[in-house]
């Protein structure tokens, strides 16, 4: 019989090493995963709280809002309202996993299998992460960002920097490129470029240029609206990008700050699009690894039962009328779908052959799954692979709530032959970030007139912006733009539903 990895609940660093080696053997040989090098760090509860408040990253620039989140988490943790995660994993190379010191040896095995191999494989192979994130550069970039923000605070004052960051944070969810451009983000090069640009500016600085009389400005009216919009790259849905490139009165360092916030938002964008898949992958991987370790006799029956207890808690899906229900649990849905795919590949029924002719009965479970993990995001994954059997099993149904409808909320489709496709389409749409976020874009700037910035919110299904918040965000936007900003909510027929106009606040005199 193979040697046990550990006995009981205690572990030390040799145990962790053995566990990691054992998991790695299963992950690479049996599952054929392809992972970044792993770095495993053991941390305390306080350090976990620290990590929470800086969106899980090991280093981040300083900002009061992180302090607020820290105070909030700390208070609820101390009162016992909130438990802490067993681990946090960072999409970087090497892939860093933080493990809590309180975990038992079984839990450490579980989270190593889950994070260091499951998430890690997903980060390295999924097309969204490949396209949008630079795992090699992110830690260096965050380091650069931290130092840059610090330098700005020294040079331009904390208040100024804070105001710019506040505004940038408010627009963060609209600082994302949703479609790939021509070139991949290379954060290291970005960092170098920013340095070079500053250096160049300092080298060629000559105060005389300021005194040279400018020639007669070109007649702006000659530029047609069409051409103007083209020059500004309009319409533009990445508001932070637009401000960084086109806001008339921002200082270079402010543009750089907007750029930093934008890059960080972009870095996290794939994660919000792949919650179900990411957790599903990691959960499936840890389940396979733990089962294998148990089969090999490397963990005891008792430890395996402990694992099953936690695993069952993680993949628990309350039903809609359960007081604990708060939407679909991404772990549960993801894991159920992965297992369902395994079933379809190895042991399909006639229905599966009809719905999934490509994979049914193919018998290469890992091959199919690896391909799925690499090439889909939540929306397309659910749209393609949610099977009728799983819909029946979870007893899914679709509700349509139209406030105009007097009779109440209509049950639009249920888990039957007529409803499968509609339920699936609707669930997939619920996981489409592009559909969930408000669709706001810059459509025009009145350059020849009062330089008013005009944005449109394309209202879908009558869902308009929350007024208080919208005004506050627009205030931030106007402060950066430094001229009036108008936001017009239009429905699909271009009918104007509501219009906001916000003027920038005067900048208070710099505090010495």
């Amino acid at each position: 019989m193979t040697e046990r990895l550990f006995e009981g609940a205690d572990w030390d660093f040799h145990t962790l090493q053995r566990i990691t080696d054992a998991c790695e053997e299963v992950a690479l040989k049996d599952l054929g995963l392809d992972v970044y090098p792993n770095q495993i760090e053991v941390i305390t509860a306080e350090q976990m709280l620290d990590a929470y408040s800086s969106v899980g990253m090991p280093l981040f620039y300083k900002h009061w809002s992180f302090g607020k989140h820290f105070a909030f988490h700390e208070a609820s943790y101390r009162k016992g309202l909130m438990g802490l995660a067993y681990e946090i994993v960072i999409n970087s190379s090497p892939c860093i996993s933080y493990l809590m010191e309180e975990n038992t040896a079984t839990m450490q095995t579980l989270v190593i299998a889950h994070a260091a191999f499951g998430h890690n494989h997903f980060f390295k192979n999924n097309y969204l992460f490949k396209q949008w994130t630079d795992a090699d550069g992110i830690l260096d970039y965050l380091d650069f960002a931290k130092n840059y923000v610090m330098q700005c605070e020294e040079r331009y004052g904390r208040v100024e920097v804070e105001r710019t960051l506040d505004a940038a944070h408010a627009l963060m969810s609209h600082g994302i490129d949703r479609y790939p451009g021509k070139k991949k983000l290379d954060l290291r090069a970005e960092e170098k470029r920013a340095g070079r640009r500053r250096q160049h500016e300092e080298e060629v600085f000559n105060d005389l240029w300021r005194t040279v009389p400018a020639g007669k400005s070109k007649s702006r009216s000659a530029l047609s609206v069409e051409r103007r919009r083209k020059l500004l790259g309009l319409p533009q849905e990445n508001l932070l990008y637009f401000l960084e490139k086109s806001a008339p009165r921002l200082a270079p360092w402010q543009r750089e700050l907007l750029r930093i916030v934008r890059h960080i938002a972009q870095y996290f964008y794939p994660q919000s699009q792949t919650k179900v898949m990411n957790e599903g992958t990691a959960t499936y991987v840890h389940y396979r690894i733990m089962t294998k370790l148990h089969q090999q006799g490397r963990i005891t029956d008792g430890n395996f039962l402990e694992f099953l207890g936690s695993h069952t808690n993680v993949v628990f899906q309350p039903e809609f009328d359960d007081p604990r229900f708060s939407g679909f649990n991404p772990y549960a849905l993801g894991f159920a779908m992965m297992q369902d795919i395994e079933r379809i590949v190895t042991n399909p029924e006639a229905e599966d052959r009809e719905w999934f002719p490509d994979i049914a009965g193919k018998n290469d479970v890992m091959g199919v799954l690896r391909d799925v993990w690499a090439n889909y995001r939540d929306e397309s994954f659910i749209g393609q692979f949610l099977s009728p059997k799983l819909m029946r099993h979870l007893r899914m149904f679709h509700l349509h709530d139209d406030p105009e409808e007097r009779a109440g909320i209509r049950v639009d489709a249920i888990h039957d032959e007529r409803g499968f496709r509609r339920v699936r389409r609707e669930l997939a749409r619920q996981h489409d970030v592009g559909y969930i976020d408000a669709n706001i874009e810059v459509v025009d700037v009145d350059l020849s007139g009062d330089r008013r910035l005009i944005l449109h919110h394309h209202v879908i299904k009558g869902s308009q912006l929350n007024e208080t918040d919208a005004k506050r965000v627009l205030q931030h936007l106007a402060d950066l733009w430094t001229y009036d900003v108008a936001l017009i909510e239009v429905d699909a027929n271009d009918k104007v539903l509501r219009e906001y106009v916000v003027s920038p606040r005067p900048i208070p005199a710099a505090v010495a």
């Binding site: 660093f13 990691t20 080696d21 090098p37 792993n38 770095q39 495993i40 760090e41 053991v42 306080e46 350090q47 709280l49 620290d50 800086s54 300083k62 009061w64 809002s65 992180f66 302090g67 607020k68 820290f70 105070a71 909030f72 700390e74 408010a170 963060m172 609209h174 809609f320 009328d321 229900f325 679909f328 979870l394 007893r395 149904f397 679709h398 509700l399 349509h400 709530d401 139209d402 406030p403 009779a407 909320i409 209509r410 049950v411 249920i414 888990h415 039957d416 609707e426 669930l427 619920q430 408000a438 706001i440 299904k461 869902s463 308009q464 929350n466 918040d469 919208a470 506050r472 931030h476």
Partner: protein, 427 residues
């Protein structure tokens, strides 16, 4: 593939401290308001504890574009009896409604925990203390170093020779290391020996002894002991703080609040200086009684005003429970200044003869209504009396206070006295 396992637990903590301070700075006025409210509700002894405060989230809000309303579609698990085309009553479907994407911002009020230092800082800020004073208050108690036995590790400078030699001796005896005179004796015997065979035997014995001497060192690293030192808080004396207050009808809530703040501050000062601080509350109308804090500040009372009764009570308590040679006695009296005319002389006598000689510090705080200018016009009877005593050389600290920010200057005298007291105590 190399795997790095790193123990981060020993990294310095408080990584979020800076962010937390920024947050507190930004929310300063709100947090300060909360602290002020909390400290009003607290007992004097609890003023130094940190604690949970709740602030409104206004200004701390992080806005985002959020959508709400409109028609909504959702897919839910756990269908039991619905079929396509059913209608569900809205009111009855609470759970389905709550789970919609509209749920966002429920943190209107924000609760979090302030540490002890943060709380005291904000509390003192509220009193508008000058920076110098704040530093003095914030000073933590110094720790002394004291010998505490021996240890097997330490710096060479701390080797305890006598203990090391003692242990080495014990070990040598226990292991039967041959002594020097034993060997010398044997050598002498060999030199004196004439018989070849016996000489051979003796030589063998000598060799054995010498080998044993080599095996068992004179001083082994095992024997070495270092002096161990331990940090101990400096022994500090105990103090008792007498709070005297006039609770007759003329004292308003505002006045009592001023007095309470003054007592709190005095308590903070004393607590920083003495390990053990007792508080005695004596309230008086025309007679005095020792009461608990609740009654002191909030208990109803009525009657005339005889200050001497309180002084007399204090004097008796001191005599019974607080021997001035064991206790540092601090007293703070708050009053609106009224006193019966007939009582003046007795009060003065008690104060100069009985109270002041045993007190480290006696502060008199005359509290007035907020913005009350009338009370500047003429001095009250008590004020006149105390002023006369002070001019006569009595160590009294006295102030008129009608706003919170005026409380602190009373403590100037206290600081001066502390400096000299420390110098005296130093040798």
């Amino acid at each position: 593939m190399p795997i790095h396992i790193i123990d981060r637990r020993l990294n310095p903590g408080g990584k979020s401290l800076e962010n937390r301070q920024r947050f507190l700075r930004r929310a300063k006025s709100l947090v300060q308001g909360a602290v002020k409210k909390t400290s009003q509700e607290r007992d004097i002894k609890d003023v130094l504890e940190g604690g949970e405060v709740t602030i409104p989230l206004d200004g701390m809000h992080e806005p985002r574009f959020r959508r709400e309303g409109g028609t909504r579609d959702m897919v839910l698990p756990g269908n039991k009896k619905f079929i396509e085309g059913d209608y569900l009553q809205r009111s009855g479907q609470g759970s389905a409604k709550d789970s919609g994407p509209g749920e966002g911002d429920s943190e209107d009020a924000f609760r979090f925990v302030l540490s002890r230092d943060e709380f005291v800082d904000l509390f003192l800020d509220d009193l508008e203390l000058p920076d110098l004073a704040k530093r003095k208050i914030a000073q933590t108690e110094s720790e002394g170093i004291q010998r505490a036995g021996y240890t097997t590790s330490g710096s060479p400078a701390n080797i305890s020779v006598s203990r090391t030699v003692k242990l080495a001796l014990a070990r040598r005896i226990a292991l039967k290391r041959p002594r020097k005179d034993e060997i010398e004796e044997l050598e002498a015997a060999i030199a004196a020996c004439t018989d070849e065979d016996e000489r051979e035997v003796l030589l063998a014995r000598l060799e054995k002894l010498q080998a044993k001497t080599k095996r068992i060192p004179f001083i082994d690293p095992l024997d070495i002991r270092y002096r161990r030192y331990e940090k101990v808080p400096r022994p500090v004396a105990q103090a008792v703080m007498f709070c005297l207050m006039d609770v007759s009808g003329s004292m308003s809530e505002h006045m009592k609040d001023l007095a309470k703040r003054f007592y709190m501050l005095l308590y903070v000062f004393l607590k920083r200086r003495y390990k053990h601080v007792e508080i005695v509350f004596i309230r008086h109308t025309d007679r005095a009684e020792e009461v608990d804090e609740q009654t002191f500040f909030y208990g109803p009372a009525s009657g005339g005003t005889l200050v001497s009764s309180a002084l007399q009570a204090m004097h008796e308590i001191v005599r019974e429970r607080f021997n001035p040679s064991d206790w540092n006695i601090y007293a703070a009296q708050a009053s609106d200044g009224d006193n019966s005319y007939s009582d003046g002389e007795l009060t003065g006598m008690l104060l100069t003869d009985k109270i002041l000689p045993v007190c480290q510090f006696f502060a008199y705080l005359e509290v007035g209504e907020s913005g009350g200018s009338a009370f500047d016009l003429s001095d009250s009877s008590l004020w006149t009396l105390y002023e006369r005593l002070r001019n006569g050389g009595a160590p009294l600290s006295m102030r008129k206070v009608s706003e919170r920010s005026e409380i602190f200057p009373v403590f100037h005298d206290l600081f001066q006295r502390r400096e000299t007291a420390q110098e005296k105590a130093a040798p």
